[in-house]
Homo-oligomer: 106 residues x 2
């Protein structure tokens, strides 16, 4: 398999996870509801992808109470930032590889 | 959801499908065995992703016999090339969006 394809990280394959990591890296931290609104997802769908990224140690979770309301905040880990950056680099290589051959088909 | 995330195409989410479409667009046409060797996949795994892309009408299939041996060749369709290009454009936007914010974390 071509090197850039090997570097594509299965943990980030889904659009939802690309969205989560993007928001996390751009905003440094984000709470559940903001993420849900930004990505327009259901609670269950968002929660399952967050759990997968937490299990991969790509993000960490802080649970707090704001008054009586629970509030969950997500932070990217260093490993998560690094892995996501490598993933984006691999995608970039894929794009460049395809752009070189753009002319003949489109 | 951010526009570039909306334009990420679920049909191309997996690394295998990114690989298939990449090879198809670069080489214009490709047979099953070459694809299998290039992407280092099992027959079953490759076949199931090819079927999904065929059902989406992103590639077309030609079956022939070379002597007594069956030989299957895959071609990208115009719709497939267009859709893959849009997908790569969306990934590029994702990358650019993240690169703008690279400085503070890594």
């Amino acid at each position: 398999m071509k090197e850039y394809l090997e570097n594509i990280n299965k943990a980030f394959e889904s659009k939802v996870r690309l969205g989560i990591m993007s928001v996390l890296l751009v905003q440094e931290k984000v709470d559940f509801n903001t993420l849900k609104e930004t990505l327009q997802l259901t609670d269950g769908n968002l929660a399952s992808h967050l759990r997968a990224l937490e299990e991969a140690e790509y993000l960490r979770v802080e649970k707090q109470f704001v008054g009586r309301k629970p509030n969950t905040t997500y932070y990217p880990t260093y490993a998560g930032s690094k892995a996501f950056k490598n993933h984006l680099d691999a995608l970039e290589q894929l794009i460049l590889n395809n752009r070189q051959n753009d002319a003949f088909f489109l």
